[in-house]
Amino acid sequence: MKIAIASGKGGTGKTTLSTNLTALFAETETVVLSDLDVEEPNSGLFIKGKLVKEEIKYKMIPEWKEDTCTLCGECQKNCNFHAVIQLGPQILVFPELCHSCYACSELCPTSSLPMISQRMGTLNHCENGNISFIESRLDIGQEQAVPLIAQTNDYIDETFDKNIVKIFDAPPGTSCPVIEATKDVDFVILITEPTPFGLHDLKLAVETMKELKKDFGVVINRYGIGNNDVVDYCEGDNIPILAKIPNSRKVAELYSMGKLIYTELPEVKQELQKIRKYILNLKINN
């Protein structure tokens, strides 16, 4: 059972919800938390554990072999990302633009672009009681989050039983990394705040999830600020609102100290329990 926690707007509470919901599930059952915001993972500030595995992750990049190349130009014709460019008597490869699709390599008539591995980041697996926490981190200077997110998902699929509840802390926005983080999940929780900016970006996130044909629901964070437009929008579009987490200074204080919130604030715990119940119902119906 895979649940992604995403948002259009950044800073609306993805990590707060992911970590607190994980801890709530862990009170009664085993749960996997995966931080897929590999460009700036931060779930690890709130969920600690004993490191049981550390892997270096690589992506595949073509390397030009000058001695066998006939300069036919097939590679640059086949590259959709302009990562391979023919410049007179040489072939240039731009690793930051390469999407590791293998087209240039596989279609080269003289096999002059073999794929070689290039380090892109790390994956850490920590254990703490009922919680398995997987955090991947892109190396500084790497531009593409998608390959590392994909490999992190593969690790989780290979390591854990498919029935265990898995919570994915997704990157913000609606671009490729979010698509990769949400495309294989059973349900997406879109967390937003009840402000005009929150609503604007929520609409973009909703469009994205509709395009992906995902089941999704909304959690309103900092409920009580702004206005009622997010609620009206969700009701008008028949989008389920799973919970409304009340706005509170105490939440910000606990967050800034790296602490979990629901254990100290019953009104937050009550809302998280609604989400937990919703997820368990989905699990039964699956």
Binding site: A83, I85, L87, L92, F94, L97
Partner: protein, 112 residues
């Protein structure tokens, strides 16, 4: 000598396009033959990635010795242009092609 311009049109009076990778046109002036050749680069709008290398590659095929542009190429494009041995002059983004040519001739443009 052939001199290339990033431009929004194909004439002397056309405005320069300050962008390199996503320039609308590449205009090449051959000052020995006193003639222009141009390339319509507007399809680049549909490319999400790699506009710089792609435009650089096209520019290389057109064979200029000098490029005059506005903001200057990004990292990937600069790598290609360096390999291609094309001299780059920037800061002509707000001029017409004619003004940019004069500024280059009077050595008023900054080299990269």
């Amino acid at each position: 000598m052939k001199i290339a311009f990033t431009a929004k049109g194909t004439e002397w009076e056309s405005e320069m396009d300050p962008r390199f990778g996503r320039t609308e046109f590449i205009l090449v002036y051959d000052d020995e033959k006193d003639e222009f050749t141009s390339f319509d680069n507007r399809e680049i709008e549909n490319e999400a990635h790699g506009a710089g290398p792609k435009t650089s590659q096209k520019l290389f095929e057109m064979g200029p010795e000098v490029l005059i542009t506005g903001n200057g190429p990004g990292g990937n494009a600069a790598t290609v242009l360096e390999k291609a041995g094309i001299e780059i002059y920037i800061g002509a983004g707000q001029m017409s092609v004619k003004e940019a040519y004069k500024a280059y001739k009077n050595k008023n443009l900054k080299g990269v």
